[in-house]
Amino acid sequence: MLKLVSIHTSYNNIKALKGIDIEVNKGEIVCLIGSNGAGKTTTLLTISGILKPDSGDIIFEGKSLKNISPHSIVNRGICQVPEGRRIFPRLTVLENLEMGAYSVNSKYQISNFKNNIEKVFSLFPILKERIKQHGGTLSGGEQQMLAIGRALMANPKLLLLDEPSLGLAPIMVSKIFRTIKEINEEGVTILLVEQNAKAALRLSHRGYVLENGAIKLHGSGEDLLHNEDVKNAYLGE
């Protein structure tokens, strides 16, 4: 479904990605783990078209995403829950969700919007109670739920999640992971970036380990969980 071919991305002169190959198949949960500064966020921002790669290609459903602007990439079905959630602080919860549906509004009917918003509210009932509250006044966990809900409003084919568990209480973390599984079971393909490597690998069909802007290892979630290097470096065992 998604294929990154030898992607190089840099910030001014700093080379952040040095030739990355990643493949995500339809229906999978694939996770990308790595230490701080490895290039995980850079990878997701490059897929979404926010950063332009210096070289390499990204193929989604058989078509290149080269020189495609970020909003058109969303229209093709790739949505992102970015690092730091990036809720629109002075839009209400409802308006944030409406913005999530921005790319589909023109194509589908109101009923689609209503279905999606009901689905989001059944995943995260608290959002329904906060519907008129400004996004910026939500708690961190609520913002994370809103960020995921907002991305789901667009009927994504592929969902990119950048550290969805960051800064959340353990109960919230397990809720978010359960939700990711549910979303995947409903047919959404997922590329997940996580610091919480153990939980992420357990959840994922396959995983990639990123180190210094290059893929160091990849394999099934199960294999990586039992890999000695991964255990030492990322699972703290």
């Binding site: 926010i50 970015p82 629109f88 839009l91 913005m99």
Partner: protein
């Protein structure tokens, strides 16, 4: 006497407010003080004179003044919006990732260019608005309100009302607010940020055009320099209300108009143009974020 000044102030204030909205909307999205915005207002005044002059020559004004004025307004708004759109594409968009000072300098350049362009093509002397509205009006609580004043207050009020509805109720208005708050995230939900920025310039320029038409008809005289003074006053109004904040620009404009008219009546009309600067200095000293502005820690 006071009530009379309040009516005069409201007339002026409405005009300042709708110019100030253009400053504040562009600032809200690009964090750019669009120094060329006052020049759009000046172009609006000139274009109105040119189009109405044309309609007068064609005999349309003699046939129906309202139709001639409405057509003039429509054409002026279209032309000014086209200027606003083009200025953004030519002078600001190529500098979007440049250091912050660069687009600011570019804006000053556009402003100087437009002033000289109008001076060269239209002459350096005052131009006269082709239609005199006269003093006809009505009594309102012992005060004379001319029909033109009432029209200006009504039009600026309606424009502000509809802009507010647009920003808060329409899909595009919400996308504008989202873009102002976080451009990257706006792109990640599928908003075409370039289109939103263009729309912002088009709306701002259209409002400035209306302000230009109203001032040209109110004072009857314009010159190529009016955009500079009005620009500074509207900028002051935007800062007074809290730059980036649309209701703030409306409030700031009206306060500035009221201060100017009461100040001219009770203190001295010699300082008519100085009140804006005094207000600007006071607000920068006391509350730089403006009346409705957020404190600076909350960026975006």
């Amino acid at each position: 006497m006071l009530l009379q000044q309040l009516i005069n102030g409201l007339t002026l204030g409405g005009v300042y407010a709708i110019i100030a909205i253009g400053y504040t909307m562009v600032y809200g999205i690009l964090e750019l003080i669009n120094f060329a915005h006052g020049e759009i207002y000046m172009l609006g005044a000139y274009l109105a004179i040119i189009f109405l002059g044309l309609f007068t020559a064609m005999g349309l004004t003699a046939a129906s003044i309202p139709i001639a004025l409405i057509l003039t307004a429509i054409l002026t708004i279209i032309f000014c919006s086209a200027y606003g759109f083009t200025i953004e594409k030519v002078a600001y968009k190529p500098l979007r990732n440049a250091p912050r000072l660069s687009p600011l300098i570019s804006a000053i350049g556009v402003s100087i260019f437009l002033q000289n362009y109008v001076m060269l093509t239209q002459g350096a002397t005052d131009k006269v608005f082709p239609h005199r509205f006269g003093e006809a009006g009505f009594q309102f609580m012992d005060v004379n309100v001319t029909y033109l004043q009432a029209l200006i207050i009504l039009v600026s009020g309606l424009l502000m009302f509809f802009l507010h509805l647009f920003i808060h109720k329409t899909r595009m208005g919400k996308a504008m607010r989202a873009t102002a708050q976080d451009k990257t995230m706006a792109a990640l939900v599928g908003i075409n940020v370039d289109n939103i920025i263009s729309a912002t310039f088009i709306i701002g320029a259209g409002l400035a055009a209306v302000a230009g038409i109203m001032v040209a008809s109110y004072y009857g005289l314009v010159n190529y320099f009016i955009g500079y003074i009005a620009g500074i006053k509207a900028f002051t109004a935007a800062v007074l209300g809290g730059i980036g904040n649309i209701p703030g620009a409306m409030l700031g404009g009206i306060i500035l108009g009221l201060v100017e008219s009461t100040g001219s009546a009770y203190i001295s009309s010699e300082y008519k143009d100085a009140y804006a600067f005094i207000i600007l200095i006071i607000i920068l000293l006391i509350k730089p974020s403006g009346i409705l502005g957020k404190t600076t820690e909350e960026k975006v």
